[in-house]
Amino acid sequence: MRYLPLTDSDRAAMLDKIGANSIDDLFVDVPAVARLDGPIRDLPMHASEMAVERHMRTRANANLAAGDAPFFLGAGAYRHHVPASVDAVIQRGEFLTAYTPYQPEIAQGTLQMLFEFQTQVARLYGCAVANASLYDGSTACWEAVAMAGRVTRRSRAVLSGALHPHYAQVVKTMAQFTGGTIADAMPAIQAEPDNAGLIERIDDETSCVVVQYPDILGRIPDLAELAEAAHAKGALLIAVNTEPVALGAIKSPGELGADIVVGEGQAIGVGLQFGGPYLGLFAVRNPKHVRQMPGRLCGETVDAEGKRGFVLTLSTREQHIRREKATSNICTNSGLCALAFSVHMTLLGEKGMRELAAENHRLACYAADRLAQVPGVTLLNTAFFNEFTLRLDGKSARDVVEGLAETGMLAGVPLDRLYPDVEALSDGLLVAVTETTTEADIEALAGALEGALS
């Protein structure tokens, strides 16, 4: 067995040292009812590296990779080019095979990286402090709702209808058990986000208003107006961002008055990976809220010789110290994905981030106009970043997408996939365009839609 260094003579010598006759003597505390007489049945025996690779390759080859097709999917997971050096860095064993930095003297690499990551995220979000990451955007969203409850001592969260439905479902699932009430809604399929409708639902019991920016239909809501309305009722504004590249082109949520900004960081450095592992980003605008934040925080300090160094800090919020009184039960974060994000952000820098965002938007504008020329297709959005909603004139977008998949085209996310069986949304198609999209891809989609709708 190539991963197990002990030899049989080692094992014999060690059993001798221990004073045991056989390995079974070491499992003597296992009750008889649970003892097995050999390897577990119904599973294969060990296999060579070559055989395993071959097996897994057949599974991989049964999927259509985004890079092998004209590709337009988004809805919370975006395909961007990840520079080769990102993967080279995260595969360094000292990063890949380190644990949580519990011993800071020999974990300065991870800790300094996290400090830089927190700074990058805080700046991108227009906030004072970001944490060292959470599992993903959807769980970060729930953690923000829970935190708003702690800060305001209220328990009614108002969700925008245009919040990603998976995020809304996570929040509602958790709230069933924590006693909070969640006011949610369906998205209004119209050109502009329904801010007025959202503001109407804020009352004196509201802990927070949760709004996605850009929203699930790709529209860009006026966060400043929502912040003002939320603050007037003593509630916090939580802004949720699922496409961080957008913030290279549009104002940051913090700048517009959001109190807690959370999001999915996957688009930068991490890749699609069929949905995980992803990267939960979490930041607060007001530094006074830091002690109510969930998750790990890395802070600067000095060592015994006065040299600058970094440690995990404010851990009195966390489960390993506070146990049942912790701000969250979270232990693991998404460290390696945070590293990938941070390396990619370092490669981009201010200049690269702004240019990347501008290029995404230019291509998206071009695609929106081109696709809107297809008979039977209308563009819903007036404003968007790199993703917009098309309406297919009453035709089922799911049928169209599934039909085009048969021809090797990944045409976008039908709203029916996110909101099954909602008649009013069934002809909606979400189309995302990034720097990886070519003019030829857009032309191919236009042609394919024309064929499918005629």
Partner: protein, 525 residues
């Protein structure tokens, strides 16, 4: 005794000086391969980038009127960039200030730092896994769905449990999943309960999870042997108890030999048994928790099944369920169809008889961890996984029996340990602490064991060598551990300033917490 290092180094080669400053100061602060690295924000520039974007298509450029609805960014973000060579150098230098399992034994008890096979990394990067969108049409992701299904099948078979939830993102998320299913099951029969019982030796996540799910949390006492006190537990059980959460093998490194009796007693009062599967690596392939009466258990794929920890994640925490709980599991689930294909079911009314408690995360779980874990399982097979458990337990017992004459081993007489050996700081001289011993171990080239956990042992030191260490590696570690233990017992005051040779000396955690500096600010600000 022979030198504990076969590199050519011999004990008489100790430096003649105090061992700290054997040469002149350097102007850079560097010491040969020990390189100081500034913060990114001190070396990067706003106008520097390491990414060249492709030339934009002419037609697209022509359409360049921005449609941001009045929200175009007008202020700088405040980022800095580096070119590729400087980026690679920055992070390579940082990496060298980290300890990882690739560098040496990493005996962090209960965290399970075993070797991460590189085939797993290669497989996870196949474009058919890495470059696939979670919402792609089902007919284009059949292989990905099959991997989720097959991994679920392996986990169910290895645990002897019929139900599974694959979506939880990490161990603590899996715990929450299990406890929420328990709560949903009680509520479904109109039997609201208030209390979850947790042993004192439990991971901090257990009480935090139970409290998060709305339960009151009470401690279960332990016997002097380091196991759950069955009589005390039985005395506490009643109609208000929803569940007990028990780690098995427990965090004292012992198998709960009365687990079946515990489970029977809990079931008798209508409660459920949650097993924290963090230590499943000690019994994988040898014991099926389903045979012990477990109702729900999370499995840390990043522990037992070798997916990388990456400086604190990502994790992955699938949960297996008994028949009584399986319908309450969260969605989505992958279902095998009669035609041999696979389907992702995301809608409640179509699965679990409509009883599912909901959704725990966007999309379907940690696919990148699933591919790695399944690769690991296929490599080992049923026979290899059994050997994994046996070697992990053998290594831990070897460490226990090689140190117990020197260090206080509170449960050494409680039977063999499983995958980890537990020691206490009894009889350390001159007020030396477990922390001092840990820092001295850093100077010997090791990552310390888990310290001050579990809470039931004073100055606890929890050592988990794992099965991927050779006997030679263990022998060197034992020699180093004995040396620092002897110094601690003798009251060697120099240990209070250890580590001496790490990239940093002891860091001031009090200052970090009192005046938190959590983001870089330019000195001008």
């Amino acid at each position: 005794m022979s030198a504990p290092n076969k590199s050519g180094w011999k004990p008489e080669m100790q430096p003649a000086s105090d061992g700290l400053h054997t040469g002149p100061a350097t102007v850079t602060g560097n010491r040969a391969l020990m390189l100081e690295e500034p913060l990114l924000f001190e070396i990067g520039h706003a106008e520097t980038t390491g990414v060249d974007l492709p030339e934009i298509d002419a037609a697209a450029a022509a359409a360049a009127t921005s449609r941001f609805g009045g929200f175009a960014r007008t202020e700088p973000i405040g980022l800095v960039g580096l070119t590729e060579p400087d980026t690679v150098r920055h992070y390579t230098r940082l990496s060298r200030q980290n300890y990882g399992i690739d560098l040496g034994l990493f005996p962090l008890g209960s965290c399970t730092m075993k070797h991460n096979p590189r085939l797993n990394e290669k497989v996870a990067r196949f474009p058919g896994f890495a470059d696939v969108h979670p919402l792609a049409p089902s007919q284009t992701v059949q292989g990905a769905l099959q991997v989720i299904y097959e991994l679920g099948d392996w986990l169910k078979t290895l645990t002897g449990m019929p139900g599974i939830a694959m979506s939880p993102k990490a161990g603590a998320h899996g715990e929450l999943c299990g406890i929420l299913a328990i709560r949903a099951a009680h509520e479904a029969r109109g039997d609201a309960r208030q209390t979850v019982l947790v042993p004192e030796s439990a991971h901090g996540t257990n009480p935090a999870t139970a409290a998060f799910a709305g339960y009151g949390v009470e401690d279960i006492p332990a016997t002097p042997e380091g196991r759950v006190d069955l009589a005390a537990l039985k005395a506490r059980l009643g109609p208000d108890v929803a569940a007990v959460m028990i780690t098995n093998p427990n965090t004292c490194g012992l198998f709960e030999n009365e687990f079946r009796e515990i489970a029977d007693a809990v079931h008798a009062i209508g409660g459920y048994v949650y097993c924290d599967g963090a230590n499943f690596n000690a019994i994988v392939g040898r014991v099926r928790p389903g045979d012990l009466g477990v109702d729900a258990m999370h499995i840390n794929l990043h522990k037992t099944f070798s997916t990388p920890h990456g400086g604190g994640g990502p994790g992955s925490g699938p949960v297996v369920f008994s028949e009584a709980l399986q319908d309450f599991a969260p969605l989505p689930v992958v279902r095998k169809l009669h035609d041999g294909g696979y389907e992702l079911v995301e809608e409640e009314q179509r699965e679990h008889r409509g009883l599912s408690f909901g959704r725990m995360t966007a999309f379907h779980g940690q696919m990148g961890m699933f591919t790695r874990a399944l690769t690991y399982m296929l490599s080992h097979g049923a026979d290899g996984l059994k050997q994994v458990a046996e070697d992990a337990v053998l290594n831990a017992n070897y460490v226990l029996r090689s140190l117990e004459d020197l260090l206080h081993a509170p449960f050494a007489e409680s039977g063999p340990c499983m995958h980890e050996a537990l020691f206490g700081d009894k009889d350390f001289g001159n007020d030396l602490s477990t922390l001092d011993l840990a820092k001295a171990l850093i100077d010997e080239g090791y990552h310390p064991m888990t310290v001050y956990f579990p809470l039931v042992v004073h100055g606890a030191m929890l050592v988990e060598p794992t099965e991927t260490e050779s006997k030679a590696s263990l022998d060197q570690f034992i020699a180093a551990f004995r040396s620092v233990a002897e110094r601690a017992l003798a009251g060697d005051e120099t240990m209070k300033q250890a580590p001496y040779y790490a990239p940093r000396r002891r860091l001031d955690e009090t200052q970090a917490a009192r005046k938190p500096k959590l983001a870089w600010q330019s000195p001008e600000q």
